[in-house]
Symmetry: C2
Subunit: 219 residues, 2 copies
DNA sequence: TGCATAAGAGAGCGGTGCTCTTGCTTTTGA
DNA sequence: TCAAAAGCAAGAGCACCGCTCTCTTATGCA
C-alpha cells in the first residue's frame, strides 16, 4: 500500500500525471495489474492519494521555512513562504503540476479529502496579512472596497478565516497569492523563454520584493 | 484535415487535452483510425496544431480588445488585455489549460512553430510598458536593478524586444504578466474555493487595478 | 482441525496510439 | 488515350491502458 504510493510518486516525477499507469506500478512491484486494485480501487483514487501527499509535503516545506523567521518579521515570512513554495515546486515539478496545473481530465479531487491539506499555504499567507494588520505593519488600513459584491465576498473570507484585516488588504493578499503561484508556474512550466531569463532565482527575489510592497508590508 | 482540427477542438473542449484520442476523432469523422494518420502524423502533432490554433485565437481576442482603446490610455490597454485573456480563458478552459497549464506528459511543443503565436500577448504587454515609458506615464524610471545578473537578463529582453524601458519597469512588467495569468489560472482551474469567491469578475477588476499600480502606470 | 479471510494470479473486455499492407480511385503526363 | 503515379481509405495487428471477474494459495484464528 505504502509501496504503491511510493512507486506512484516516482512515476509521477519521471513521467507526469496523465502517464500514471497502475499496470506499470504493478510491474515495478512485481505484481500483476489486478493485484493492486485490492489496495487502490482506481487510478483516480491513486491520484487523490498523490494529491494529498503533495499538499502535505508542500505544507511541511512551508512550515519548516517559517520556523526560522521571527513572527514579527512579516515581510520575511512572506518571502520565506514564497521561497519554500518555489524550491519545492522546482524539486517536484510533476507533483506541483498535479496540484496547481491543468486539472487531470476526467478527474475531480474529492473536496472532503483534499481541502484540508490543500489550504495550508494560503492559510499561512492569510496569517501573515492578519499579523501585520494587528501589528500596524501594513499600509493598507482603509475601509470597504468597491463594489459592494466584492466586499461581501471579502467579508465571508474574513469570517471563515477568523481574521479582522480590512477589505483592501485581503483583496491584495489574494492577488499576491495568485501572483506568487503565477510566477512559480511560469518558471516551472517553462513559460519564460529559457534563453531570456537565465537567472530565475534573481528574478524571483525581485518579484518577492514587489509582492511585499503590493500587500503593503512595512516590516 | 481542417475537419480533424475542428473535431479535435471539440473533443479538447469537452474532454480535455490528455483525453484527446485520434480514434475518437476518426469515429466522429466516419473514418477508420488509421486514415487520420495520413493527415496528422501523430497525436502530438495534433496537439501542436491545437496549441497554435489556441495561441492564434487568444492573440486575435487580445488584438480585437485593444482595437477600441486609445493608444495613449496605457492603463486602459493593460486592463483590456487582461479582460480579453480572462474572457477567452473562461470560454475555452481546455485550450487555456493546454497553453498555460501543466505540460502534457511526453509532449514538448516544437518551439519553432509555437513561439511566434505564443508570444503575441506578452509582446502586446511589453508594448504597453514601452509606450508608457516613452510618454512619461509610468512612475518607474530608475536605473539598473540589482543584482547585476538580473540586470543583464533584463538588458537582453530590452535588446530582443527593441525597447528602451528601464530595468525596474521591465521586471515589474514580467511580474504583472505572470500575476495576470496566475489570477486567471486560479479562477479557471478552480483554486479559489467556489463558495468563497462568488463574484470573480469583481475580484478580477480589483486585481487589474492593483496590477496597473504595480507597473506604475499613471494614465 | 476447520474455516474465514487476505493476497495474489490469470483471463478477458473494450479502449488507446501507431504501423504495415492491401486495394480502390483520382490525377497526371507522355 | 491509356498506363503510371499519387492520394486515400480500410483492415489487421502489436503493445499498452483501466478495470472486472473468477480461481487458487497462504495465513491466522477459534
Amino acid at each position: 500500500m505504502r509501496d504503491i504510493v511510493r512507486i506512484g510518486r516516482q512515476h509521477l516525477a519521471t513521467d507526469g500525471a496523465a502517464a500514471l499507469s497502475l499496470r506499470a506500478i504493478a510491474r515495478d512491484l512485481g505484481l500483476v495489474s489486478s493485484a493492486v486494485y485490492r489496495y487502490v480501487g482506481s487510478r483516480d483514487e491513486l491520484l487523490t492519494l498523490l494529491v494529498i501527499d503533495g499538499y502535505d509535503e508542500l505544507g511541511d516545506a512551508v512550515d519548516e521555512a517559517l520556523g526560522s523567521v521571527a513572527a514579527a518579521n512579516h515581510a520575511g515570512r512572506l518571502r520565506a513562504i514564497g521561497r519554500a513554495v518555489r524550491t519545492w515546486a522546482l524539486a517536484e515539478p510533476a507533483t506541483y503540476a498535479l496540484l496547481f496545473g491543468s486539472p487531470v481530465p476526467g478527474y475531480q479531487a474529492p473536496a472532503e479529502r483534499t481541502t484540508g491539506p490543500g489550504t495550508r499555504v494560503i492559510r499561512r499567507l492569510v496569517q501573515v496579512w492578519e499579523d501585520a494588520w494587528l501589528a500596524g505593519a501594513t499600509s493598507h488600513d482603509g475601509g470597504p472596497v468597491s463594489p459592494r459584491r466584492l466586499s461581501r465576498d471579502l467579508a465571508r473570507i474574513r469570517r471563515e478565516q477568523g481574521i479582522t484585516a480590512p477589505d483592501e488588504l485581503i483583496a491584495r493578499g489574494v492577488l499576491v497569492w495568485a501572483a506568487l503561484f503565477g510566477c512559480i508556474s511560469f518558471e516551472v512550466f517553462g513559460q519564460y523563454g529559457a534563453d531570456t531569463i537565465t537567472q530565475p532565482q534573481d528574478l524571483f527575489e525581485h518579484q518577492l520584493t514587489v509582492l511585499v510592497e503590493t500587500v503593503g508590508l512595512t516590516r
